[in-house]
Amino acid sequence: MSHDNPYEALGGDGDARWAFGTGFTDPLAGVDTTAPAGVDGGDLAAYCLMLGDDALVMSHRLQEWCTRAPELEEEVALANIALDLLGQARLLLARAGQADGGGRSEDDLAFLRDAPDFRNVRLVEAANGDFARSMARLLVFAVWRLALLDRLAGSRDPVLAAVAAKGVKEVAYHRDYAAGWVVRLGDGTAYSRERMKEGLAAVWPLVAELFVPHEVELRLARAGVAVDPSQLRAEFDAVLDQVLDAARLTRPDAARPGEADAAQEGPADAAPAGAGGRDGRHGTELDEVLSVMQSVARALPGATW
């Protein structure tokens, strides 16, 4: 850039979209977007919405930390993670809009759907709580999503495979970041340890839903396109236990002495069938997210941004 006239680049062609990071309108440009043979477009779109909404809503909750993080390094890191997930959401929503033939854009899907049309798991819509609860939620989310994307990288759908391959690298960092804080807080002061235990306990009731397959996921998994989330639990438990060990913590559902019988009757955190976010059943917390996220877009119909 010029050291004398920083403005000179602004002049001239008013139509040029030269601004860094703004020069693209089609996030799927260059990727083969043909749906694999024998795969229902509606199913593919529904699945892309599930994974896309997970990323979009999780990103929103992380954005809420902006200017409120405990340290400047955390401002940078949390914004970075929110940006990664926003990028994943954009690709997946664009794919959803394209796969169902309805021609809806990423913005139509993000800003013009109501809560019952969102397909995210309820884990991501829950309020942040304090930093410990936010790190517990991010750890759970990232460990689960990493296991999912790792398998999805082999999808028969070229777009999902590409999104997953890119996402694996990003989410591995998200997991390491959250794990670092869970260990620091669990093995920090007596107070931070209490906060970390409470944060994990608050998040835990939302964990079981992550592994309950939706019929769309099962159909697409049989077709080699999607991942059956019930296959992810063993890896999730193993990774989580490793982090919690280092933090000198235990899973909230781990059987405590004298409670072995109760534990054998099945996990207390099991979600009732058919009541999950994948079916559009959400808590009021998603309404809160959407009332903020969609406010400007809905206030100015027909506007271009």
């Binding site: 850039m1 050291h3 004398d4 006239n5 920083p6 403005y7 680049a9 602004l10 002049g11 008013g14 979209r17 030269w18 601004a19 860094f20 990071g21 703004t22 309108t25 929103h60 954005q63 902006c66 200017t67 409120r68 993080a69 405990p70 340290e71 400047l72 390094e73 955390e74 401002e75 940078v76 914004a79 970075n80 940006l83 926003l86 990028g87 954009r90 990423e106 913005d107 800003f111 304090d130 930093f131 410990a132 260990v183 620091r184 807080l185 093995d187 920090g188 002061t189 107070y191 931070s192 906060r195 903020v292 996220m293 406010s295 400007v296 877009a297 100015l300 506007a303 271009t304 941004w305």
Partner: protein, 320 residues
């Protein structure tokens, strides 16, 4: 050689280095006043980056398209990075980041007053990029040649990123001006509110600027406030015309004799009021920063406790 002789020899060397346009580095001898001036200037700049995250940060969750959301989130993240960078530059002069943060939140140190104005619509995001970042660049580009090495090097990187931000802001405004009548009205309203505060960013007029002369002699500062303000106005007027917005100054007109735009008098009473703490958002900006700092104290303490325990374990391991 007496201590006084030694000091005068060091001072001569310092003056020669400055005169030859060479850089002063952290371990070089420097006059106390030079060090104090730089710590004050760099830390105020760092505080401005961090407080400056707030007016735009408020719109990240509400951005009306996912592309705009990504751009804004990346921009605010850059500002946090600039703050970190600048606090590090201040630390090369012996300042301590925790102490500087304490001085910010208890009001002993200042930040750019521009951030004490509120952001009332999404058009403000674009206008801040265009005018506020534009004015900041005018102020900061000469600092890339500051005599203090770490500050100059930080400013080179920061100016490059600020330039992206300014282009992104201008591009948002271009897009909005091609949109609906409501959007065009939003842009004009935002320009009306931000124009005069942007001119205030260059500081008081030269005849009323106590620190300018010495800072220029030390080459910490390269141009006077009024020179930079004029440069900003001259560069901005054609941009406003290209955009199709009106700058809210009836006295603004080209002066062929001077080769510059004439413009009206800044409301210096308002400038002093806002600097003095009585702007629309002073209390809120500090309250948010203080809350983040206070609410995060237990997290930072936990990290320190964990690190100490790790070091202790490592030490025991090494001793065994």
């Amino acid at each position: 050689m007496s201590a006084a002789d030694e000091t005068s020899r060091l001072e001569e060397h310092f003056d020669r280095t400055i005169a030859r346009e060479q850089r002063i580095e952290p371990r070089d001898w420097m006059p106390d006043g030079y060090r104090r001036t730089l710590v004050r200037q760099i830390s105020q700049h760092a505080h401005s980056e961090i407080i400056g995250m707030q007016p735009e940060g408020e719109w990240i969750t509400r951005a009306p398209s996912l592309r705009r959301k990504a751009i804004l989130l990346a921009k605010v993240q850059d500002e946090a990075g600039h703050g970190l960078y600048l606090y590090s530059a201040a630390e090369t002069l012996g300042a301590d980041r925790d102490e500087l943060t304490a001085m910010l939140i208890d009001g002993r140190q200042k930040y750019s007053s521009i951030f004490n104005y509120p952001t009332l619509s999404f058009a403000d995001v674009g206008v801040i990029g265009w005018l506020v970042d534009g004015a900041a660049i005018c102020n900061q580009v000469p600092l890339c040649r500051s005599s203090y090495g770490p500050y100059a090097r930080a400013m080179i990187r920061i100016c490059k990123e600020e330039s992206f931000h300014q282009r992104q802001g201008y591009e948002l405004l271009m897009t909005m001006m091609r949109g609906t009548p409501e959007q065009r009205a939003m842009v004009q309203d935002a320009v009306d509110r931000w124009w005069w505060p942007s001119l205030m960013m260059f500081g008081p007029p030269d005849h009323d600027s106590p620190n300018t002369a010495r800072s220029m002699a030390w080459k910490v500062k390269r141009h006077t406030n009024d020179e930079l303000r004029q440069r900003f106005v001259d560069m901005t007027v054609p941009q406003a015309e290209a955009l199709g917005v009106r700058l809210p100054d009836p006295d603004l007109r080209w002066n062929a004799e001077r080769g510059h735009y004439d413009f009206g008098e800044v409301d210096w009473a308002e400038f002093r009021r806002v600097i003095g703490g009585d702007g629309p958002c002073n209390a809120r900006r500090i309250a948010v920063r203080r809350a983040a700092h206070d609410d995060g104290a237990w997290v930072r303490e936990a990290a320190a406790a964990h690190a100490a325990r790790q070091a202790d374990r490592a030490g025991r391991g090494a001793a065994a």
